[in-house]
């Protein structure tokens, strides 16, 4: 589904790239974990496959179409959903409106369907008493579940998450990872999670470690 060819990135000095000549493939219905120490470039890699930045060299292909061809804005709108460590919800909206807004922007097939959004939220443990409450009044775990619900409501086949459990306790971490597994296995989406937690990575179908500017497959 998603393929990188000769992907490389550096900030200022080409001679000191974060990673170089990365050739990876990610499939639908699978979950992937990318491990690595801080500063190794795993989040930068994620920003490239999420269409938030352009690679310095190489290219990314989605179903054999280059992101350059698709266009980054189009790609972000239709093909990829992102979950952030800091949740990054619209803080002046309720969980329900957060979902409806994302569905409207991405022209999702269920755009405008309040019932669908409500069901998705309910499935993730956000009850009816919470769905119209301002998101700032929800706990961290609840906010992250809303962020995950947002990715589930959109039609994007690729879900990327940057340290999604970084701010969560053990129980919430387990629950969030379960949700990602459901997204991969039940909705048939490709889930790529960047994490520094081996326990989280272990729950994914495939694990890669970014070290010495290269990705090493762990399992």
């Amino acid at each position: 589904m998603l393929r990188t060819e000769g992907l490389g990135y550096w900030y200022q000095d080409k001679e000191q790239p974060l990673f170089q000549d990365i050739n990876l493939e990610f499939e639908e219905g699978q979950s992937y974990a990318i491990l690595g120490h801080s500063g190794t470039g795993k989040t930068t890699f994620l920003s490239l496959i999420a269409g938030l930045d352009k690679p310095r060299e190489g290219d990314i292909f989605l179903n054999d179409r280059s992101l350059k061809q698709i266009g980054l804005t189009n790609y972000r709108r239709h093909d990829v959903a992102i979950v952030f460590q800091a949740y990054n919800l619209f803080n002046y909206m309720s969980p329900l409106n957060n979902l409806l807004t994302a569905m409207a922007i991405t022209n999702a097939s269920h755009a405008g369907d309040r019932g669908y959004a409500q069901r998705v939220l309910n499935d993730l443990g956000i009850g009816d008493d919470l769905i119209t409450r301002n998101v700032q009044r929800l706990s961290g775990g609840q906010q992250q579940r809303v962020a995950i619900a947002r990715t589930m409501c959109c039609d994007a086949k690729l879900v990327v998450a940057d340290e999604p459990t970084g701010n969560l306790d053990e129980d919430n971490t387990k629950e969030v990872i379960d949700q990602f597994q459901r997204i991969a296995h039940e909705q048939g989406k490709c889930v790529i999670i960047v994490t520094h937690e081996p326990d989280v990575a272990a729950r994914c179908d495939h694990q890669y470690r970014l070290e010495n500017k290269q990705f090493v497959q762990l399992g």
């Binding site: 989040t43 239709h78 002046y92 994302a102 922007i105």
Partner: protein
């Protein structure tokens, strides 16, 4: 069009911030509206001044041409011959009527002055005595140099004379002279003269001509007026006491002067409908008259009001633009700060694939909602601020105007005191019947009222300010890279 909904949700959710923005915007728009109101009121006041202040055009004998004629004849004649005399041609009423037919002429007043002697009554005596020694009409070479003790001011209507329009004289009993008094012996006398002789409305009095057959005439008192100043000290040494001035129809004055004065006048004053076109009217009038006559315009009242209102209008314009520019800068700064505070939200929107112009449109819509409410508040408050500012401006402008008037005003009119005998004019064009402009020019009050046009103009300014503020601030949005915001 999801950005409309987002804008509404944001404005509603962040009520405190929205209220503050509304207050700031209201204050800016209130001053813009005040400026707009003062400006439109000043324009309106200037328009009103055209009709209220008016302008006049006076047709009289061309003294300059007459003097030139004397000079040329004296240079050509021998030194032993008698000195040539100034001969002024009285204005023919037929010429005056042709000028009166011009489109910009509202009305006209014929003035013909002379003197007569009291026969059946006693004049108000003054210590200065009567020094005038001229009689007869303007421009006629007089053979007599006698002057009466009663000043006869022949007019078309007393209501059209400056003394009455400026309230220096007021009818206290009966009525003034009207156009319908033409051909009659009706007169209006001064209160002091009336009380001294126990005369009242309906009484008759007899006057005696000072020239020709020196016959007597019976005149009927139809009105009594009171002059604000009857002191003889203000008159020239050859003038009669102002209380001895009798208003009559110009036909009566001409009758007293003599039969050759029929159908003539000392001067004719035309009231111009639109003072702004006074000079054009004068130009058109000059084409209708010969060089023996001259036309002079007096639109000083209009010009002074116009100058004053132009000052107010200019100041109001400055207010509008200064506040608009300052408002744009203030709002732009607020929006820039607001956008900086919402970088994460913008980042999330970009990560969802939202178009940048739609994000800008969301901010614009939010500001638009604020501006609509601010417009309503400004619409109410602007009138109050405009009233306060407007009256302050007008009072300052009036003070400036009064100062400049007192230094540039001319004492008296263009008339001649007494008469030199040769001209045969008594008082000439400067007599009480002329409409020489008064130095007193009252600026019109500004009528501040909020109209639909003002609100529409304010709405335009509000929109422009909002649009510019958002455009200035949106540079940040357009440059924002989601990766830098969302992934640290």
């Amino acid at each position: 069009m999801n950005f409309f909904k987002r804008a509404w949700l944001n404005v509603w959710a962040k009520k405190g911030r929205s209220v503050l923005l509304i207050l700031v915007s209201s204050a800016i728009l209130m001053f813009v509206l005040a400026g707009l109101l003062i400006r439109s009121a000043a324009v309106k006041a200037t328009e009103t001044a055209k009709t209220d202040a008016g302008a006049t055009m006076t047709l009289s004998a061309n003294r300059q041409a007459a003097f030139k004629k004397i000079q040329s004849s004296s240079s050509s004649s021998s030194s032993t011959s008698s000195r040539p005399k100034l001969t002024l041609t009285p204005v023919k009423l037929s010429d005056a009527k042709s000028i009166a037919n011009l489109s910009n002429i509202k009305s006209y007043n014929v003035t013909s002055s002379t003197t007569a002697n009291a026969k059946s009554y006693d004049t108000v005596s003054t210590s200065t005595g009567m020094g005038g020694n001229s009689s007869g009409g303007p421009g006629m070479k007089s053979t007599s140099s006698s002057s009466g003790d009663t000043q006869i001011d022949g007019v078309t209507s007393t209501a059209l004379t400056t003394d009455f329009t400026d309230s220096q004289s007021k009818i206290t009993k009966g009525r003034g002279i009207k156009a319908s008094d033409k051909g009659t012996n009706n007169v209006v006398i001064e209160k002091e003269l009336a009380s001294q002789n126990n005369l009242t409305v309906g009484d008759t009095m007899t006057i005696k001509e000072t020239t020709g057959s020196k016959s007597t005439l019976k005149v009927k008192v139809v009105g009594i007026y009171k002059a604000s100043s009857t002191s003889s000290a203000s008159a020239g040494p050859m003038s009669t006491d102002p209380a001895n001035t009798i208003y009559a129809s110009y036909t009566l004055a001409n009758t007293i002067k003599g039969s050759k004065y029929a159908g003539t006048a000392d001067s004719v004053t035309f009231n111009v409908t639109n003072p702004a076109k006074a000079s054009a009217t004068k130009k058109a009038g000059n084409k209708l008259i010969s060089s023996k006559y001259s036309l002079s315009t007096d639109d000083s009242s209009y010009q002074s009001i116009k100058a004053s209102m132009n000052n107010v209008e200019g100041f109001a314009n400055k207010i509008v633009w200064l506040v608009a520019i300052a408002g744009t800068i203030i709002l732009a700064l607020i929006v820039i700060l607001m956008i900086r505070e919402r970088r994460f939200e913008i980042g999330v929107l970009l990560s969802l694939g939202e178009a940048r112009w739609k994000i800008v449109a969301q901010f614009f819509t939010e500001m638009l909602m604020v501006i609509v409410i601010a417009l309503a508040i400004a619409g109410v408050g602007g009138k109050f601020v405009g009233n306060q500012l407007g009256s302050q401006l007008v009072s300052q402008s009036t003070t400036t105007q009064t100062t400049s008037s007192s230094t540039s005003g001319q004492p008296g009119g263009s008339g001649q005191p007494g008469g030199s005998g040769s001209s045969g004019m008594h008082g000439g064009a400067g007599g009480p019947g002329s409409t020489t402009s008064s130095a007193k020019t009252k600026n019109p009050d500004l009528e501040i009222a909020v109209s639909a046009v003002d609100l529409a103009e304010l709405g335009g300014f509000g929109l422009a300010i909002t649009f510019l503020s958002i455009m200035i601030a949106s540079g940040g949005i357009l440059r924002l890279e989601p990766k830098k915001v969302l992934i640290s």
